[in-house]
Symmetry: none
Subunit: 193 residues, 4 copies
DNA sequence: TCCTAATCGAGACGGTACGTCTGGTCTTGAG
DNA sequence: CTCAAGACCAGACGTACCGTCTCGATTAGGA
């Protein structure tokens, strides 16, 4: 019934050193420039140890990223959908446009050719945040701020997709004014009365 | 005053061989698996020749891709915005979900770490298509199908962003039913009267 | 005054398992292919245990070899030097050309870069056998089969060196006919009267 | 009929740099301590280039050794077999006991587990020298210094084997006095009259 | 029966070198 | 001047063993 733990236990210190090294290098020079050899050197750790616990570069880097990006994820609750959404979307936008957020975009890029990576950022990043958005909208629904029977999933897509569209594709700026207009427009069709 | 063209002229045959080789390999195994060495071998061309005319892998591959994807780009004109948009968005969606379209997503991914690539697909792919969308909406405006003073740029973002959001990030399906709901919802706030 | 033997005593079973594993692997695939890791696995023993008792690979392997090659070493005594020598040299030759003997040649090879190894095979293999050869020759001297005041050491070198010369260097065969001629020629200059 | 020589020709400079580096390291620290990586670094050459032209470490090192050890190989001709042999054997002995000669012993060692190596030193080193010994003995035969119908091959084995036997196995010294006695004893059975 | 001390297995770890691969540059001679 | 052929450097890849190191479980004799 009990799991046996034979042999020398895995060093937590080493694990952290690897993840920090990976994350630092990620922020400094971007995903593309990272090498396992570099991580190993920076972390003062043997390459073999890295390969022992992670199958490839993407896996280490993802772990490093999410290990460092454990955030609060509080649900804003001002009493107004618009404000709640503005808070959530703004904070996402300012993260994405920071140097740390750039990394997330690179991981999304990596996910196009590595489905494990895609799986990871969906589960570890997008899914939890989507639940929050949904909670915001459901509360608003309960307060009768919104029409009944709205397609909340579509609504969420409409609220978030443009941020990534601009950052990943068109390169247009994502500023508070844009977010303001975005929320306003998307919610027009959803207001009750 | 005239530019002199001394020596052996550049071989058009060679140029085409390189671009086709690049494109074929792109469709077959994806961007990541492409190597200049592979292209050189497949095209029966020296590596040095490739480097002579393109600065790096991404440049050749982009050229190969856009060289092969010269499409019609007709402006749909059914007399109904919804239908026009449905035609344009559907055809984009079916392209993006095809094996050739997958390549575009990979190029977008590549663009996250190589701004030249980003510049290229913006200018050669997205900009022309955006003009068409704008034309559709402006015609509709002229027909008074839409309210005056709409933020057309925002509208276009809202119509296209969700496709890429789903394909690049969430992995949710992009089917005709989704497109239908998307267009409907986005246009609610824009209809005149 | 007495040595204290505190703690758990060394396991004889383990010692044997290591030596047998080493010897088997030695005969199967040769010295070069042996790894401590392999021995440890095959013997069902921890690497650390091996390093506890032997300083390096060569030491274990040597022990394994000599542990398995404890031979009779009887002194032939037919009454005739030639025959006695023929018996001894032939049996050496047939050992050296067997798969087990090949190992001895590999150990000699190893001895060129590891003086401990050289020391070991000299003391544990060659010295005892040289004493026998000397005994044979001294008996013959006592029987007046040989001249007085012969340089027995030189004689022994001349009798054995060619075997190793052929096996280690020239690759020429070492067969009974060769041994016959060898002994005959070497003893010509040594016969009394 | 003509061999075509397409492409960039192999760099002679690079080839030499590799062989010298290999040889220097061989003499300095012995065969065991040599690494391809070390040679590559010392020669200022890419590892890939080394692997392009030589299949493994032994091959490079052998080439380096024989490239550096191109010797005169004159046939001594004093008119006396004993003296001729003494000259040849002495010069071999002093080579073998020098730091450069130690390398040859290490190559012989390597040859025990790599038959290509064995083949090489037989063809490139031992065979030519054996021909000289034979020439010396044949001249002596022609001068009637030696008996007719002697087994010259055996004679040569007896003259050279003890040197290697002592150096490779017993560790006994190989000095002029020993060589003197060796030659004298071996030739006793061969003198005419 | 408990205590003390050494041995042992399992296996993590920092290293070093392996032999391979690709990117990008350079050198030749033919066209 | 262009091109094919192909040699070359740089540097990361992922693997294999090395020899060292915990950790917990065993196994003796002595208290």
């Amino acid at each position: 019934m009990m799991e046996k733990k034979l042999g020398r236990p895995r060093s937590e210190e080493t694990r952290k050193a690897i993840l920090s090294a990976a994350y630092e290098m990620l922020v400094e020079n971007g995903f593309k420039s990272i090498t396992i050899e570099g991580i190993s050197e920076r972390a003062g750790v043997s390459k073999a140890t890295i390969y022992k616990w992670w199958p490839n570069k993407a896996a280490v880097v993802l772990d490093g990223f999410f290990d460092a990006t454990v955030s609060m994820l509080g649900i804003p609750d001002t009493g107004s959908v618009k404000e709640d959404l503005f808070i959530q979307i703004s904070s996402l936008a300012s993260f994405l446009t920071s140097s740390k957020g750039k990394v997330l975009l690179e991981l999304i890029a990596e996910g196009q050719s590595d489905s494990n990576v895609a799986q990871e950022y969906r589960n570890r990043y997008f899914h939890p945040r989507r639940l929050i958005s949904k909670a915001i909208l459901e509360k608003a629904e309960a307060r009768h701020e919104l029409k009944k029977d709205l397609d909340l999933e579509l609504l969420i897509d409409l609220l978030f997709a443009p941020l990534f569209y601009r950052l990943l594709i068109t390169g247009e700026p994502v500023d508070p004014f844009f977010i303001e207009r975005l929320i306003s427009y998307v919610l027009i069709g959803s207001e009750s009365d």
